[in-house]
């Protein structure tokens, strides 16, 4: 189960609304490489993970991704708080405003709604961990793209924190992959499915 802690993992204090910026960073909430896909990916994969320590890592990183999702949502909320009608008409935000007013809803920056097809839970430890390594890099690239085009330091600082966490998670998933590989039978050099084909686990 989960318990809630009433604070953000990284403080968000945005003093000036900017719906345009909100419509860009929303991709890290509900976009293809966003925090919702990240948390759902790890928290779904963990049940069949054959290595107990790696299952624990998926729980802990998945939980941290939920905290990241909250940081991104807090940023979207503050960037669209107390908008004037003129501000609501901002290009890039106007279409979203029609459907959601200023509520927070998971979508990609280009308007594609959140979709579970953004992530995979494959039931093969090797496949899943490679998926996770790629996911962390894709999220890192998205943060790089955002940081490149956003000037406001109040928005950039939390984004820089979140970007750094992608790098750490990539490192930890790399270590997890080595642990799973070390536990395979030496003849399984193509690293086939260790949780279904149990004869391929180290005797």
């Amino acid at each position: 189960m989960w318990t809630y802690e009433k604070r953000l993992q990284y403080p968000v204090k945005i003093t000036k609304p900017c719906p345009k910026t909100a419509s860009l960073i929303i991709s890290q909430f509900g976009g293809p490489d966003g925090e919702m896909a990240a948390s759902m990916r790890y928290l779904s994969q963990r049940y069949t993970m054959p290595n107990k320590e790696v299952g624990g890592l998926l729980t802990d990183i998945g939980t941290e991704e939920l905290a990241h999702l909250e940081v991104i949502c807090a940023m979207i909320y503050q960037l669209t708080k107390n908008l004037t009608v003129e501000q609501a008409k901002t290009a890039g935000f106007d279409a979203y405003y029609v459907d959601h007013t200023t509520a927070v809803w998971p979508t990609a920056a280009a308007g594609v709604p959140f979709n579970a097809c953004e992530f995979q839970s494959k039931g093969d430890a090797i496949t899943d961990l490679f998926e996770n390594l790629a996911a962390e890099q894709k999220a890192r690239t998205t943060y790089d793209n955002l940081i490149r085009i956003i000037d406001n330091p109040e928005v950039r600082e939390p984004l820089k924190f979140l970007r750094a966490r992608e790098v750490v998670h990539f490192q930890r998933f790399g270590e997890a992959l080595e642990r799973v590989k070390a536990n395979l039978d030496s003849k399984n050099y193509y690293y086939y499915n260790p949780e279904f084909d149990k004869q391929l686990l180290k005797k």
Binding site: T3, Y4, E5, K6, R7, L8, Q9, Y10, P11, V12, K13, I14, T15, E53, G56, L57, D60, I61, E64, E70, C73, A74, Y77, Q78, V168, H169, R172, E175, A176, R179
Partner: protein, 96 residues
């Protein structure tokens, strides 16, 4: 201590706990990291307790209607025994 300063320290020490957790998930016998984890966790518990006494509880485990929020900040029920979990600002309200 002031609310924002205390909250900042809780954020820092809790982040250390988060980061050490992931490290220890893949290095469970690193004694140096284990010592650091214990020290940091103790500091976190102490700060959460101090914060809940002065202001609102941040976790359910810190909820204690008799002892919480002695400064009566951000509460709808000053001088009245109440469920202190609802005291304080919401986390997304921009650090107050």
């Amino acid at each position: 201590m002031e609310r924002m300063q205390l909250l900042k320290e809780i954020g820092e020490v809790s982040f250390m706990v988060n980061d050490l957790t992931l490290y220890l998930d893949t290095h469970p016998t690193d004694t140096e990291a284990l010592t650091m984890f214990s020290d940091t966790m103790n500091r976190r518990k102490q700060l959460l307790k101090t914060y809940a006494e002065q202001f609102e509880p941040l976790t359910m485990d810190c909820v204690c209607p008799e002892a919480n929020n002695q400064t009566e900040s951000y509460t709808k029920y000053p001088k009245q025994k109440h469920f202190t979990w609802s005291d304080g600002p919401l986390p997304w309200e921009g650090g107050i």
